[in-house]
Symmetry: C2
Subunit: 328 residues, 2 copies
């Protein structure tokens, strides 16, 4: 028995005879042999683990995706290098650097994490590494993006508020700069909101636009700001559920009833949205679909041999879920 033969068996080479394969396998089981991933990675110049950077691990929408990935990868014997970028570019860049040092086999970006420039550099230096971005659009060759049509969704939910006869509709956006300013922050969701107002012949009141940070506290602060104006809004579309819940807290604290005095709508449909006080109207993200497609895409691209895998760009749509927070 030789080292090379064992290696061949372990890596499933085709040229080993069935007989020796069995004998090797038996020995492996008996001795409890396990390949050393570090040595393997050193030799192959390509690790076995997948790097994942998520912009906010406390956001249930994101954890659901990570959980799905974790399970799919386990079936391939792969593990996840997990990093939380805390909604900050500097941290995301740092995280990416650490992942590069660990020689990951592939990269998954969940939410708005690394800068376009940083990712471009990564792709250039690691042409064989699949990159999948979820909920963030990159204009980089070789990067797959799984997106949700935020503009259309924002239009839908704003339209819904208009139909409910709310007349002074505000929006809590993502941050103006930094993560969130790209895909689903100001750009798309704000545009959808603006277009819906325009189509209904409503004016866009600058005082009705507040900036949040995709977190509970950010929604709370933004709502306080909106309420401090003389002309109070009677409906608020928050760009995600965490901020919507923060907004509800702020409204209640100001002695306002939701939805009688002010309606609130969110985005994501996190599991808790259905059981808050009051239950939250929100745009439901196609979570399971997103997770499944990402996992399938990743494993396919990882097992792909050849110089370059084919990137995918796919847009899903969010679905309006009407609950009590937007119906007087």
């Amino acid at each position: 028995m030789s080292i090379a033969t064992v290696s061949a068996v372990v890596n499933g080479a085709t040229w080993v005879s069935d007989d020796t394969r069995r004998r090797v396998q038996k020995a492996i089981d008996k001795l409890g042999y396990r390949p050393n991933q570090m040595a393997r990675g050193l030799r192959t110049r390509r690790g076995h683990a997948v790097g994942v950077i998520v912009s906010d691990l406390t956001n249930p929408f994101f954890t659901e995706i990570v959980r799905g990935l974790s399970h799919t990868l386990r079936e391939t014997g792969r593990t996840i290098f997990l990093c939380d970028s805390d909604h900050r570019f500097e941290l995301a860049d740092l995280n990416l650097r650490m992942l590069v040092d660990s020689h990951i086999a592939g990269l998954v970006l969940v939410g708005d994490t690394v800068r376009e420039e940083a990712l471009r550099a990564y792709v250039r230096r690691h042409p064989r590494s699949p990159v999948i971005a979820i909920e963030r659009e990159y204009d980089i060759e070789g990067v797959s993006c799984l997106l949700v049509d935020s503009e259309a969704g924002a239009y839908t939910v704003t339209r819904h508020l208009i139909d409910q006869e709310y007349s002074r509709i505000a929006i809590i956006t993502g941050p103006h700069e930094g993560p969130g300013s790209t895909t689903y922050g100001r750009a798309a969701r704000y545009n959808g909101y603006a277009r819906a107002l325009a189509d209904a012949g409503r004016a866009l009141e600058p005082a009705f636009v507040a900036e949040g940070n995709f977190r509970h506290a950010g929604g709370y602060e933004a709502m306080r700001q909106l309420l401090s104006n003389g002309n109070r809004p009677d409906a608020v579309f928050a760009s995600n559920d965490l901020m919507a819940l923060g907004a509800i807290d702020a409204a209640r604290e100001a002695g306002l009833r939701v939805p009688q005095d002010v309606a609130i709508a969110g985005w994501d449909d996190v599991p808790f949205a259905a059981i808050t006080t009051p239950p939250l109207t929100t745009m439901a993200m196609p979570k399971s679909e997103l997770g499944a497609v990402a996992a399938e895409l990743l494993t396919r691209q990882l097992s792909h041999v050849g110089p370059r895998h084919t990137p995918v760009r796919k847009t899903f749509s969010a679905r309006l879920v009407v609950r009590q927070s937007s119906c007087r």
Copy 2:
């Protein structure tokens, strides 16, 4: 300049002259040199990443801990190998095997994950690897455990329900077998519940004990079971918040009002517990404390040189947070 000297500088050896150190550093910055973690791990027989197995990534209490760990470790330049064991022993064992293959530097167990036996084997084969278990007690030398006094907490919350003049108090426990059956499932929380009833001179009704699985769906099912009895409980202590929320859903579906018809109390005080309908009475876990201690402990043990680090066993206590779900 020689390879060995550079290595010495990178690893902060004391014997390099300040002058060469500066020169090496300058070259490192200029060339953008980054040590290859795989080669390093291969040589040292000890990786740079920390393995984390969490029993349920969708449980906000757990993600908070993971998030904290992620950030603390980033400061040391370390990454996390994350695995979700999905509340299943087989998966946890598999995860542990994968982590071993990846040659982790340390291990953190969040929630009820790997079996005592599996962990014992790990510790035997990796005496230098720190192991920290959060919310699960192991009787293994060298394993640090950060615990919460579940028995006392369960006593407190049950006592609270008694004080609120509820008379038929039920419990939704963790699973009877598998993860959850150990620390905080049947054992401690059930015992605290039983002792509180006994101290108050109440009988322990077997029909008032339902088994859950620490998930929303499990709480829902357990509640349905409790409600299907002729003698309905008028208060339910669920062993965690996810199950409590499931129980609320089931109660509402059965046409019962919470807390007028049936009171519900949970355990964890996840962020959403404060904003559910109605806001949830629950035992607040010392999250930030737990996270901070775990992180501090881990980094200390990781940087510890010598044959054996000193394990720590620490018990925190949960705090009763009374909200509307338990007050008519």
